[in-house]
Structures are given as structure tokens and as C-alpha cells.
């Protein structure tokens, strides 16, 4: 049980220790179910209080990596711009898991493709703060995700920072069953609307389709300046579907994931339209 980030980094730096960072522990404790080895040593962060805070100001929200999904969903209740993140935190897994699973764990579990908070944070232009023995660095979440499997330096993700904006956002997911299942597709969307009702600053993030969540940049570009018409966006999405190389995994085959992706995007866009038209509280 590390008492400080520096202490945790010290243990991590010892390559021979075979240690992994543990936050809520909900992913690492399922290692055997995935037929994966259990790491030799856990370095627990739960005794480091500063990692459990949420700070909100006019410009940004800073979320400590140990903040649980349950706490996060309640903290974002009065922040409509971050609706996608609130929805993701409120619908992931189940109530019991949401009490212990953390946002840091969701982002750092590199073999967890169906992480709701990752897609939501991506569409909100999140950055992450990384602590290393030689200092602190802040990087875009998208860059962190792209490189996280290749990282060899001991580092700890301490904060997730999301800029405040005038945009609206929405989160949608599809599971094969109502409970006891990982989503086969996750879509988070954010956008603002111009005075002529066209969209600007569109962000679309897709999770669970590929091994790592990522932005759907070709579709984002195609939607700039377009009207928010969910049916038209669904049709347009189908023409950009070749951007994805879907993963084959338990729960759903790859072809199914990309087949239903435009429909899940449609759901998110319906929610987004409701917000932009002032119909959603």
C-alpha cells in the first residue's frame, strides 16, 4: 500500500519486482477468468488521498485517477457539457462494480477494449497527467492510448483533465444482454451548434469495436457544417465504416460490431439533438 505517488513509482521502477499498479482492482482480479497470469505484486494506490479528488473550475474539471465511476456520475450531475462522461460512469458494469472501479483503471487497463469512460473522455478532448521519477507530463488521452502498450518507463496516471466548453455530449452503448455483459459497441459524441443550426467541433469516439477506443476522425470531418440529423448521420457513418478493423472476441464477432456501430451512433445523436434543442434536462 503506497502512501505517496513517489513511493509507488519507486516500487514500479524495480523491474525485477513484477509489480503492477492497482486502483480499484476490478480488472486485475479478473485475470484468471481471462486465462491471464496474476501479477506477482500489486502496488495499491488507495492510500493516496489526493488521487481521489475532483476539482471543478470555470475552465476545466480535474479528476483524480482513483475517483470511482459512482462518485464521478454523481459529481457531474449539474454539468451538462460533460453529459457523455456522466452517462458512461452511470451505466458501466453494474452498481456494485461502479462503487469500486476507477476512471484511472478504466484508462490504464490496456487489454480492456470495452471501457466506457475512455470513449467518453476521448470525445471531450481529455488530457492525462503522468507522474514519472523524472517529473510530470501532461499528454492528450488519444496519444496516451496509442502508446500505452509500448511504454516501458515506470509511470502513474494521476489526473484526467477535461476542458469546459459550450458543447453538448452524449454516450451510447450496446450490450447483448441487459446485465452481466460487456458492450459490443460504445459511441460517445460531442459537438456544438452554430447559429445556422449546423454542427461544429464534432468529436466521435468509438470503443469496443477495436482493441483500443479511438476517435472516428473521417466521420467527424464529414459532419462539420452539417445539420444534426441522426438518420442522415447513421447513413453517412455506414459509408465510413471501412475505417475500422473490428476485433473478434467473446460476446460478438467483428462483422457484427461494425454492422451495429451506425445504429449506436444514431442513438447518441438522438440524445445530442435533444440537448441542443433544449429537450433534455
Amino acid at each position: 500500500m503506497a502512501q505517496t505517488v513517489s513511493e509507488a513509482l519507486e516500487v514500479l521502477s524495480d523491474q525485477d519486482a513484477g509489480a503492477v499498479i492497482v486502483a480499484g482492482a476490478t480488472w486485475v482480479m479478473r485475470a484468471q477468468v481471462r486465462h491471464a497470469p496474476i501479477p506477482r505484486m500489486f502496488v495499491a494506490l488507495s492510500n493516496i488521498p489526493e488521487l481521489g479528488f475532483i476539482e471543478i473550475n470555470r475552465l476545466e474539471i480535474s479528476i483524480g485517477s482513483l475517483v470511482t465511476h459512482d462518485v464521478l456520475s454523481k459529481a457531474l450531475l449539474n454539468l451538462p457539457a460533460l453529459r457523455a462522461l456522466r452517462q458512461a460512469a452511470a451505466c458501466s458494469a453494474n452498481p456494485g462494480v461502479r462503487q469500486i472501479a476507477t476512471i484511472g483503471g478504466n484508462i490504464c487497463a490496456e487489454d480492456f477494449a470495452a471501457a466506457d469512460l475512455v470513449a467518453a473522455a476521448l470525445c471531450l478532448d481529455a488530457t492525462v497527467e503522468l507522474h514519472r521519477t523524472n517529473g510530470t507530463q501532461t499528454v492528450a488521452l488519444a496519444d496516451y492510448l496509442e502508446l500505452r502498450t509500448h511504454r516501458r518507463t515506470a509511470e502513474i496516471l494521476t489526473r484526467i483533465i477535461i476542458p469546459m466548453s459550450d458543447k453538448c455530449s452524449a454516450h451510447a452503448r450496446l450490450t447483448m444482454r441487459k446485465a452481466g455483459d460487456y458492450p459490443v459497441v460504445i459511441v460517445s459524441v460531442s459537438a456544438a451548434r452554430c447559429s445556422d443550426n449546423t454542427l461544429r467541433d464534432v468529436r466521435i469516439a468509438v470503443g469496443s469495436v477495436e482493441a483500443t477506443a479511438r476517435r472516428w476522425t473521417s466521420l467527424e470531418s464529414a459532419l462539420e457544417g452539417q445539420l444534426l440529423d441522426p438518420a442522415a448521420i447513421q447513413s453517412l457513418a455506414a459509408t465510413h465504416i471501412a475505417d475500422f478493423t473490428p476485433r473478434e472476441a467473446a460476446g460478438a464477432p467483428g462483422w457484427y460490431r461494425i454492422q451495429v456501430l451506425p445504429y449506436v451512433l444514431h442513438s447518441a445523436c438522438v440524445d445530442l439533438r435533444g440537448q441542443l434543442e433544449g429537450n433534455v434536462a
Partner: protein, 155 residues
């Protein structure tokens, strides 16, 4: 590693691998077998216990994180040889089928009732989303929880 925790109101000590799940510690070390091992990945809810006031799956909690924690299992929820109000409602409504999921159902719903004593049918179902009943007896479980409100209203 040595871990001291309060278990059903008593101070207990665990000696062993800190990566061991609380579920296995409860069943194998302390012989509290009311907490059921089923999916072992936090989906089914059969192993839900209360840890520091939260209803969480014990299969996902390494014992090494629980130094100083207060844990309540189904065995410690009510006085010995007695049932709490929720258990009584389940019994009165003849809800229990195979019984495998019920300790977890009781632990989840009893904690839920503390924050929402008069839930709607939809709210009860939402609270139960992490508790799977293979006998598919959900509706009668919901009926039993709702019956507690009508009983209280009648008093």
C-alpha cells in the same frame, strides 16, 4: 501479509497472500459460505458483501486492500437466528428458488433500501442489474421489496 479487518462486528486477522480475493478469504479462511462463488468477475452479484458501507462484489476485492475495513456478510446482516425485514419479506412472499443468488440479492437490496426506502419498480430493477438469478425469479423479488412499502404504509 497480515490484514486486520472487522468482520461481522468482530476483529479478525488474515495471514496470507494479499492478492487473494475477499470472497475466497471469507469462504476458505473464515468458513462464511453464505457468500457464493459463481462468476468471479463481478457480473453475477452472488458474492456481494458490504465493505465500509458499500455493497460490492467480494470476488473483485483483494484482501490486501482491506486493512482496517469493516465487512458485513449475509451471516452478519441480522441477529443470529433472526431475519432482517428484507429477508422476512422474501420468506413471506415465498420468493426463494434455488437460493444461490439470494445472499447477494439480500446484500445488494438491503443497502439499496437504506438510501431509497420507497423505490419504484423500475428503481428496484435498476438496483438489481448486477445480481443475476438463473431461476429467473426477478419479478417476485421485486414484488417482495414493494410489499415492504405496503406493509409499512399499513402500519
Amino acid at each position: 501479509m497480515t490484514v486486520n479487518l472487522t468482520l461481522n462486528g468482530e476483529i479478525r486477522t488474515f495471514f496470507g497472500d494479499p492478492r487473494t480475493s475477499l470472497l475466497d478469504v471469507l469462504r476458505e479462511t473464515f468458513r462464511l459460505t453464505g457468500t457464493k462463488p459463481v462468476c468471479r468477475e463481478g457480473f453475477c452479484g452472488a458474492c456481494v458483501v458490504h465493505i465500509d458501507g458499500l455493497a460490492v462484489p467480494s470476488c473483485l476485492r483483494p484482501i490486501g486492500l482491506l486493512q482496517g475495513a469493516s465487512v458485513t456478510t449475509i451471516e452478519g446482516l441480522a441477529q443470529v437466528d433472526a431475519l432482517n425485514a428484507l429477508q422476512l419479506a422474501f420468506k413471506d412472499q415465498d420468493v426463494v428458488q434455488c437460493g444461490m443468488c439470494f445472499p447477494g440479492m439480500v446484500m445488494t437490496l438491503s443497502k439499496f433500501q437504506e438510501t431509497n426506502p420507497t423505490p419504484s419498480r423500475a428503481e428496484i430493477k435498476a438496483a438489481m442489474i448486477g445480481n443475476i438469478c438463473r431461476c429467473t425469479g426477478y419479478e417476485r423479488i421485486v414484488d417482495a421489496v414493494l410489499s415492504m412499502q405496503s406493509r409499512e404504509n399499513a402500519q
